[in-house]
Symmetry: C2
Subunit: 340 residues, 2 copies
């Protein structure tokens, strides 16, 4: 009458079978008779048997656990990605172990070790922005543990990645502003040494070129893209008398700062200056006027990352094929840029 958990051998004993027969019955092994299978099922239910995944994982070398590393789970974008990942892997019977790097390379490394030791079947990761060396990624790969990176990725060919099409996102945003009749568009850019921000700036420039709008370098202002940065850039633009009629910011926070400063000066958005941001942060619909932006499809990104990873997991042993998925962005037009 022990309170211990029921094991496979308890069922075996109760039915006068061998543990292996029970295991096979439970796993629908073809060589087990229907009668035995049914008896086992019944007895399992009766004894309230619950499989011990750990034991199976140890034996099979497959834990059905996926490790996830994000900079911070309470950033909406990453939470959406996690949601997407979960929805896919759950369907296939996997569970997610989530860890946070707090944007610290050092913690990222620790987390990877922890995940590896827990014998996860694969790892999905968005790099900390302090990460500059990739030894820890090499480690994952050398152990032949499937790896997929998303959003923040180093530019290398031997890792599967999922990113958004920053260039295209910038193109649609800028096109939209031009269509709304804007000609002097200020671009609040991110640090241009970082690929995504460079791509966004390029998209912006190419649209101007396409529409024969002369390019003026003073209209691209790189910054850290915080709300304060947005405010300062607008101040600068107004002081320089740039006569802008639109702002395309590479982040919603900078866009918001811009809107605040414009309002401060009594400049009407979108009538006098139209504004478009980037990332579709949660506050977009709530600000006044609601903020037009470029959506990054976090959930979808997570789903793709999970799919790529599971594909690698299933082809365990075979040579890994690296895939790059570039997701289209979505322009969300709200009040801050709608003039018509």
């Amino acid at each position: 009458m022990k309170n211990k958990k029921t094991t496979i051998s308890d069922i075996a004993k109760a039915l006068n079978l061998s543990p292996s027969a029970v295991s096979k019955a439970l796993n629908h092994h073809p060589r087990i008779s229907k009668a035995t299978k049914e008896a086992v099922q019944r007895m399992a239910a009766e004894l309230q048997y619950e499989p011990n995944h750990l034991a199976a994982a140890l034996r099979k070398g497959k834990s059905h656990l996926i490790g996830i590393i994000v900079p911070a789970i309470d950033i909406n974008f990453f939470a959406s990605v996690v949601k997407g990942i979960e929805s896919i892997i759950n369907q296939e019977g996997y569970n997610a172990i989530i860890t946070q790097s707090d944007d610290l390379a050092e913690k990222e490394i620790r987390n990877i070790d922890a995940l590896l030791n827990t014998q996860v079947d694969g790892i999905i990761c968005s790099l900390a922005n302090t990460t500059s060396e990739y030894d820890h990624l090499e480690k994952i790969m050398s152990k032949e543990v499937p790896l997929v990176l998303f959003d923040r990725t180093p530019g290398r060919a031997d890792i599967s990645t999922v990113v958004i099409d920053d260039y295209q996102g910038a193109v649609s945003a800028t096109e939209h502003l031009v269509e709304e009749g804007c000609q002097t568009i200020l671009h609040l850019a991110g640090p241009l040494e970082t690929l995504p921000y460079r791509l966004r700036a390029e998209g912006y420039q190419d649209v101007l070129k396409k529409h024969n709008i002369p390019f003026r370098s003073e209209l691209i202002m790189p910054s850290g893209l915080t709300q304060t940065d947005g405010i300062n850039c607008i101040k600068k633009a107004l002081n320089l008398n740039l006569a802008i009629d639109a702002v395309f910011a590479a982040s919603d926070h900078a866009a918001l700062g811009a809107m605040r400063e414009l309002a401060e000066r009594g400049i009407k958005v979108p009538e006098e200056v139209a504004v478009v941001g980037f990332s579709n942060e949660g506050f977009g619909p709530f600000v006044e006027p609601s903020l037009s932006t470029v959506d990054q499809h976090g959930t979808q990104m997570g789903e793709w990352a999970a799919k790529l990873l599971l594909k690698q997991c299933e082809n365990k042993g075979k040579k890994i094929k690296y895939e790059k998925v570039v997701l289209p962005t979505d322009l969300i037009v709200r009040s801050s840029s709608r003039r018509k």
Copy 2:
């Protein structure tokens, strides 16, 4: 020259020791000589040994995995709670397996089974709001797996829980409005059959009583607390000529709806009507005027939940002591209610 992972016996073989000696050396067993310990460490490093937590977990009956169930990870509050939980359990060498119930009792049950089968050492859960039966919780408890509930809890004494002090939160919000000179405060309440909303309504009423402000039942409007509900309630209040000079909403979304509708009618916030919400949603600082609200301290709640859980984990075997933690709320005064 196999690419296989190094195990404890590989180290043993290389040093002409037994696997058990190696295991003990690695675990700082007192009976192992210093010399051996050092040799083992060195060889472990050289062979790039990485422990297999699964194997240890199986043997020791302790996985160092904590299961978390939240309705949805992409709701900011739950993400913060998860962050808090992680910060505590990571310190103690645990990792978190996160699952989402999507607010479906059925999925909650499935997730619990999955977590139990994965042999988690404990479970932290916020119930789905469709959950009305508690058999699945009983199951966890009958297996003597530590369990802590937070935020959404059934009212029972035999489970440890962490919740916020809804009553106190409502009291501070209402007190604040009275201090700002408001006398006719509309309360946008949640469904009053749900405990937290009832407590908030009580806090509101008690403050009025304390200040000898006559209570008028038409000033309490229960709803689903969405933004639309907020809009509708204000419409109703204005149609009834209630002459309100403040709104205390039991959710930020409803508060936002209220502000929108007031703006629509040309009523100034906070000058004519002051507004306070509840929950401190992410958009609060970004709306115009920024929204005063009651903070629920998600991270802190997660930290407490984790602490309670770990305490139970450590006292494994002993009788579980159930604890209830009620966290204080924090009034955040922003522009929507500041008149002075």
